[in-house]
């Protein structure tokens, strides 16, 4: 569990042209459409979106844990290898050891009839079968303590722990195997706000200490501002915008991001005294709008937006937007906006 040395190539995971389509009674649902982005080593990337944006599907797709009815295409290059091409055995090795997930509901994520120590030890035994039982236990103990749970709680059962503690156990399960990437899928949504704040501190701590990358999937925009280094905004299965968190919050480019940020409540009295009300509702994914999926709600909509879907383009170093305002096209009437560096 030493701190990871940062390699020259500091990109941990490259996702290219990821597509996830579910088969449902109502027809094919395109939950994730042509997504490409990177996750760097040791960074905390926030994936923020509303319901139906596809963010949870993204998380599960990265873990290769989608149901059989889902068709997944694209590339996922994790530390140089394409995970999409793994067979079942390789996937089992991959999951838990290199990539780990924390779910929303801490009540049901842990096996109620297994002690906490057994959970952690079993994780070690499954992935590193040569490890002796005592050293596994020792590792478990040290790690759990590092996460702020008293040592004497190890023989407890999950129902004896609070929600916050259970989430920490989940983090522990990810860390004990030195995972490179931990995906937190709405991990703090069901927790109280003080517990959530402490968990935010914990996340930062494990990133600093273990060099682990974090993908924080959430609908809570304030949380992303509090915790993440970079943020990706998802809308209707696509990435609308991605970039360093300060830049995206100070200067949102995509009209959806603009509206979204203005509609988030701010607890500070002197800031944002009124909330912006965005028109319309997120679209149905069985029959998404033509062209750009946001166009029915966009205050800056142009003619081309109805017909053709823009690409996710890099408009400034590290900043990508999926919008015709910033992309050239021969049929555009209005000029393209240049983004200040």
């Amino acid at each position: 569990m030493e701190q990871k040395t940062v390699k020259d190539n500091d990109v941990l995971l490259q996702i290219r042209n990821l597509n996830v389509t579910y088969k449902t009674r109502f027809g094919p649902v395109s939950a994730v459409e042509d997504i490409s982005f990177d996750i760097k080593r040791g960074e905390i990337l926030g994936l923020v979106g509303e319901s139906g944006s596809g963010k949870s599907t993204m998380g599960k797709a990265l873990m290769r844990m989608l149901p059989r009815s889902a068709k997944v295409t694209g590339e996922m290059i994790f530390d140089g290898e394409d995970v999409m091409k793994y067979n079942e055995d390789q996937l089992r090795d991959f999951r838990g050891k290199r990539i780990s997930m924390i779910f929303q509901d801490p009540m049901t994520s842990l096996n109620p009839v297994q002690r906490i120590s057994d959970h952690v030890v079993e994780a070690i035994e499954v992935h590193e079968p040569e490890t002796k039982k005592e050293s596994a236990l020792k590792r478990a103990r040290t790690l759990i303590e590092r996460l702020g749970i008293a040592r004497r709680r190890l023989p407890d059962f999950p129902h004896q722990l609070s929600g916050g503690m259970r989430q920490r156990v989940m983090i522990g399960l990810g860390l004990v195997l030195n995972a490179d990437l931990i995906i937190a899928d709405e991990a703090t949504t069901s927790l109280d706000v003080i517990v959530e704040a402490k968990l935010v501190d914990q996340f930062r701590q494990i990133r600093d200490e273990f060099g682990v990358s974090l993908l924080v999937i959430t609908h809570n925009i304030a949380l992303v501002a509090e915790l993440c280094d970079r943020v990706a905004v998802m809308y209707a299965g696509q990435i609308a915008e991605i970039g360093p968190v300060e830049q995206v919050f100070d200067n949102p480019l995509h009209p959806y991001t603009k509206g979204l940020l203005k509609s988030v409540p701010n607890i500070r009295l002197d800031e944002r005294e009124e909330l912006y009300k965005m028109a319309g509702e997120p679209p149905s994914l069985t029959n998404p709008p033509s062209g750009c999926r946001f166009h029915p709600r966009c205050p800056f909509v142009m003619d081309i937006c109805h017909r053709i879907d823009p690409r996710l383009d890099e408009v400034a170093p590290g900043r990508m937007v999926h919008c015709w305002l910033y992309e050239d096209h021969p049929e555009k009437e209005t000029p393209t906006i240049e983004v200040a560096q």
Binding site: V193, I194, A197, I221, A225, R268
Partner: protein, 339 residues
Amino acid sequence: MSNCNEHSGMETLVDVQNLKKWFPIQKGILSALSGRKIDYVRAVDGVSFHIRRGEVFGLAGESGSGKSTIGRCVLGLEKPTEGTICFDEINLAKISAEELRRLRRRMQVIYQDPLASLNPRMRIGEAIMQGLKIHYPDRAAEHRDLVIDMIQRVGLTPPQFYYEKFPHQISGGQRQRVVIARALITRPELILADEPIAMADVSVRALLLDLMIQLKKEFNLTYLFITHDLATAKYICDRIGILYLGKMVEVGSLESVYQKPLHPYTQALLAAVPVPDPHKRRKKEMPRGEIPNPINPPSGCRFHPRCPFATELCKQEEPELRELEPGHFAACHYAEQFL
């Protein structure tokens, strides 16, 4: 139990005095027979406050604070273990079941989960009409028009389209509007809003909040707004009460509580809420430990095991909720230092 006329004034719509609600824990036949003492979950353990007509009174707290239970007691949906609830100078404990039922016309509920709170087999128009059928049965001819009007007023147009729909056929935001319409159809005076926007999408919440504020003006409503989201509370509440483990630790106008929190728990709570601005990340340290078990709350001040300012006094003596500034109350022995 005290008289409801004590703390009156034309202004006070709801007066809660020393409300306690304890839930007994069933231990099982053997221990009950052996006469062992029953444990109680002390969900609400002595809370007093009042709500003025026309204001939005917020009740904020984390899980186990008792906020939902207080709301239900105020509306007579639960019977208090102790304490008095006065609605418009009517003592809820002293009226008959039938009178309480008729009193419901004047106080309604907006729930957190719109899908769960609507009968899945009842069309929307009919669901909204129930309130009229119960409380105004003699005006049956007008019912449909009144419902259509209300559907329109909560922003669902064309109203006839929504009238015939079932709850699962419309979106979450629209459903919550239906719940609001159902609550308002009897022209109540008090609305208990229990986390009304928590389940709505982020972009829709602002719309719903706006609707609630607008309707408050239109219909002269008073809200008891229960929430765990202090950021949202800022946009709608006039006054706010902070609850911790069944007790009220701070009460006051929204500005005074948010600007100058006088209780360490309030301070921690306000600091814990993330701000949607990456330049303004939290620097304050969070209190140690977690919310204790409401079956066996800590002695003295309930927050003392976690409070950075706790002393021996805090462990032994429970602080009173006292007025430190006009209209601003806090239950802390050392609240003065924060003034």
